[in-house]
């Protein structure tokens, strides 16, 4: 996955969730994601979940940082740095991809009043790899005389 474009201030790519290879469910700003290609799964904390909701709107990393600044009481530079790191991590894990179609982003929600802004927790992508061994990673080469494969069992 080419994630080199993440963080460029001008002309940086818009991203979208890498569906259908990645499936996810959101509850109360937290997200559980499954990468069906790798067998890895992930959880996002609240600020990461809010950033993910912004990614669903197909916007750039800089625009995601702007969204988070509306919700959190924080230093703008710190948010931008954390968001760039987070978006790059999502990209490297294959959870998001550059949005080739560059669909126009829908509007962000209104900014929270300053007094209601939450303290900023950096977005965290927690990764779990314990089920990746269920997948057949190698292509099938051995078949019987009728053409049917005979593979050893995966982890079960």
């Amino acid at each position: 996955m080419d994630c080199s474009g993440v963080g460029m201030p001008d002309g940086s790519p818009r991203y979208r969730p890498n569906t259908p290879k990645v499936i996810y469910e959101t509850y109360d700003d937290e997200v559980v994601l499954i990468n069906m290609d790798s067998g890895n799964y992930y959880s996002l904390n609240r600020s990461a979940g809010r950033a993910w909701a912004s990614i669903e709107r197909r916007i750039t990393a800089q625009e995601i940082a702007q969204d988070l600044r509306r919700d959190y009481a924080c230093d703008g530079a710190q948010v931008e740095e954390e968001v760039l790191r987070f978006v790059k991590e999502l990209c490297q894990e294959g959870l998001i991809v550059p949005d080739e179609e560059a669909a126009p982003a829908s509007a962000a929600s209104a900014a929270a009043p300053a007094a209601q802004r939450l303290p900023f927790d950096p977005p965290v992508l927690q990764k779990f790899s314990d089920m990746a061994d269920l997948l057949l990673l190698d292509p099938i080469h051995e078949v019987d005389e009728n053409g049917w494969p005979h593979q050893p069992p995966p982890g079960n």
Partner: protein
């Protein structure tokens, strides 16, 4: 990761034979196997509906049926699902060659070009079994080359992939979870291998509670969450048998415990405690603490989703948004608790019973 593998859900054809033609060819092969080696059928109530299992030859029935025996039912005019089982070796029937190339096998054995809205096809790794399902006719095919290649774990939850396909698009979902309960309803016990699922369910069984499964169950997620039992089996790590010594004589695979979990068919142990199902009152996430006492604490819906969804979805070929959505709905509609399971096993059913009968303290 290989680049030599086709996308199993791609609409691009991977072979010259369309799914419907190959399904018909295989169904004819099954009928030929039955004509040659004799046929039989058994009926069951699964998820509240009637399911017919047809067998060509006598070899597979003893491998498939024992896990389902507690759900046995009489014949019905129109089964909700028919599954046809056969093997080539014992029926002396040649299996047609696969019409797809070796690059057509997906990471979970899904066959590219043979997974459509109507048909589902997987070659199950490890079992080396072909499963094919026609959703329109609610008929599935289950073939293996030789009966002996069906591993013990497949006998503990036979045809789980077919049952998963059958429930797609409906309010039922196969879930990687156990379930125990009582008169007022029960608890779904979720978690991956090693989390304490089997210890929890067997401790509850020992205390006289009803049992609907320790590994896979069928959950109805709406309107009221219900669990339906699928498999009357229990599997536990051999070193865990010391906690349940009275079960040792019921272990069905005592000679293979160096490489297999101990598998027990509970119809032989406590048939009256095998429930067909009950309402789901709680979702429990067991944790092994090493401490003596067992306690409960609240779990968020997202923690329940994380415990239940990946382990269910990643084990099932073709599971995706539909399954994730149903598991998410259940996680939001049933209160969740982390069960810090202690070493004093008698406390585990006491804590669960109290929760089910009196609610959270």
């Amino acid at each position: 990761m290989s680049g030599l593998r086709a996308d199993p859900y791609s609409s691009a054809p991977a072979a010259s034979v369309v799914p419907e033609s190959f399904f018909e060819t295989l169904r004819d092969t099954f009928e030929q196997a039955g004509a040659r080696a004799g046929s039989s059928e058994r009926w069951f109530t699964i998820g509240g509906e009637t399911v017919r299992l047809r067998f060509a030859g006598p070899a597979l029935q003893p491998l498939i049926v024992p896990a389902l025996e507690h759900l046995a039912a009489g014949p019905a005019d129109a089964p909700a699902l028919t599954v046809c089982f056969w093997d080539s070796a014992s029926t002396d029937t040649r299996m047609p060659a696969p019409p797809w190339p070796t690059t057509a096998y997906g990471q979970r054995g899904e066959i590219a070009g043979y997974n459509t809205e109507r048909f589902r096809t997987v070659y199950q790794h490890g079992v080396n079994a072909l499963h094919m399902f026609d959703a329109r006719r609610r008929t599935a095919l289950y073939w293996v080359a030789r009966p002996g290649q069906i591993p013990y774990w497949e006998r503990s939850f036979p045809m789980r992939t077919i049952l998963h396909w059958w429930t797609q698009g409906r309010a039922l979902q196969l879930m990687h979870a156990g379930a125990v309960g009582g008169p007022s309803g029960g608890a779904l016990i979720a978690g991956k291998s090693g989390s304490g699922k089997s210890t929890t369910t067997l401790a509850c069984l020992d205390a006289g509670m009803m049992y609907a499964g320790d590994d896979y169950v069928l959950a109805r997620v709406e309107p009221e969450p219900l669990v339906h039992s699928l498999y009357g089996t229990a599997k536990l790590a051999p070193d865990n048998l010391r906690r349940f010594p009275h079960l040792r004589r019921f272990v069905s695979n005592p000679d293979n415990l160096e490489k297999e979990k101990a598998m027990i068919f509970l119809k032989d142990v406590c048939p009256a405690q095998l429930a067909r199902g009950f309402p789901i009152r709680a979702l429990l996430l067991p944790r092994v603490t090493g401490l003596r006492d067992t306690t409960l604490r609240c779990a968020t819906p997202i923690a329940c989703l994380e415990a239940l969804a990946p382990t269910t979805i990643l084990h099932l070929p073709g599971a995706s948004h539909d399954a994730f959505g149903k598991i998410s709905l259940l996680s939001r509609s049933v209160p969740g608790y982390i069960l810090d399971a202690g070493t004093d096993l008698e406390q585990i059913p006491q804590v669960i019973r109290r929760l089910l009968e009196e609610g959270p303290s």
